[in-house]
Symmetry: C2
Subunit: 260 residues, 2 copies
């Protein structure tokens, strides 16, 4: 199995702290050593939140030079989707590393999946075809195709959430379908078996990292205006109130808060 990590933040925020603990799960504190990937929607630009950066590597996240660079070079972002992979279906190759990216309606979309799908062979008649061989990328291509078919014009985050809530169960009936999805406007999370989230806002407290046995005072890094949500397979800290998502639950996070 693999682990998911997502962030949605009202103000541009660095994920360095959470990524440090999370990337240790790629080979050190856990058995996830089959590649990893992370996508950041950057805060600035003419069209805030549209610009994205995407890093994938087949090397373990705990030893990868790219992960090392990211741990020391904070990228400020409103939305992040990350994944540490343990191969189950599909060979361990770069084209099978999550998150996957596609463009729809002039925005990039990133998708990462935890789980396995059985007998999932949807018709792909649209413009989205898998590059690799995972059931995950296939599910993403089908979601993009169906979103595109469901809306004549560019939908709002609320409309997108409504459509995704209709589409997700059609895939989830084929197996385990925990996923994170972002188009830079919002972060969507769907739980099938295991996904947790926590909201952090003023006043920020000290948190104790589960994977590194260290504590960090979040008030050192955040001001009164900061507000963000972290979504992750397994909680990253031991002293915060993580919410366990229920099977079949789809949530949209926007501006660092639960929207839907």
């Amino acid at each position: 199995m693999c682990q998911l990590l997502g962030m949605n933040s009202r103000l541009p925020a660095s994920l360095t702290l959470s990524f440090t603990g999370f990337s240790q799960r790629g080979g050190c504190t856990d058995h996830h050593s089959d590649g990893w990937g992370i996508a950041f929607f950057e805060a600035d630009g003419q069209t805030p939140g549209r610009a994205a950066r995407h890093f994938v590597d087949k090397e373990s996240a705990s030893t990868s030079p790219i992960a090392q660079m990211l741990r020391s070079y904070p990228i400020k972002s409103h939305n992040v989707v990350a994944h540490v992979r343990k191969a189950t279906v599909g060979a361990v190759t770069l084209e099978n590393c999550h998150p996957f990216v596609r463009e729809l309606w002039g925005r990039y979309w990133f998708f990462a999946h935890n789980g396995d799908l059985k007998d999932f062979n949807p018709p792909l008649h649209g413009a989205f075809k898998p590059v690799g061989s995972t059931d995950s990328e296939l599910a993403f291509c089908w979601l993009m195709q169906e979103l595109n078919k469901s809306h004549a014009t560019v939908p709002s985050v609320e409309e997108l959430s409504h459509t995704l809530a209709e589409l997700a169960p059609k895939i989830a009936r084929h197996g385990t379908f925990n996923f994170l999805l972002s188009n830079g406007q919002a972060l969507w999370a769907h739980a099938s078996t295991k996904l947790h989230y926590v909201q952090r806002q003023y006043p920020f407290n000290s948190v104790h990292l589960k994977d590194e046995d260290v504590s960090m005072d979040l008030s050192d890094f955040n001001g009164p205006e900061d507000r963000l949500v972290i979504v992750v397979t397994e909680p990253l800290t031991t002293n915060e109130d993580w919410v366990a998502m229920q099977p079949g639950e789809l949530r949209a996070f926007c501006d660092g808060a639960l929207l839907v």
Copy 2:
């Protein structure tokens, strides 16, 4: 203006040497300090040449931590498309950094452009829409749309080259349209004003880098089976036989050699 750099290699090759000189043009030896980007098609995987990695940064290529990481961490690749940008049209934001990426027929495509297009407003009725605000990304989306429309099934490299040779002049009439394009199978280069290429093969010689005043013996890094083509705006070395492409010329490079 900006500079383009591409590589097509028969065997997986590292671009470290050429990228070192090229990335110096982002702020040190040249005035290109408005962002840069590079895409690598990786050699291994179930579907060789399909997996891709894509790095973009708004920071100058000569000082960017990501460029620094790439100079010290060689990525072996069959096809590379790189770009150092000097903004002319479109704000200097990450979503405007080349190369741009889209998926078509289950392959990623990367495109980088040098030049300006005037009064280029093609109808985009297909599945490819620009995320940023450059004429370059618009041209790429139109190319992808027209390639998709022109072929009922997945075309060969020769068929793609034929279609691209028909499409490129329709854009080039709007201005300067030097571009590099790769889908992992081949590297296409179109010259409107300035683009050079060189083929390197056995026996490899010592080359003198233009931007760094150093010489490197290519036989230290290459064996008898290696063969590759480098395509670049301005020659990177002073003692090789660079071929200056002619206005309107479209070339396809495959397995380290000129195909079309």
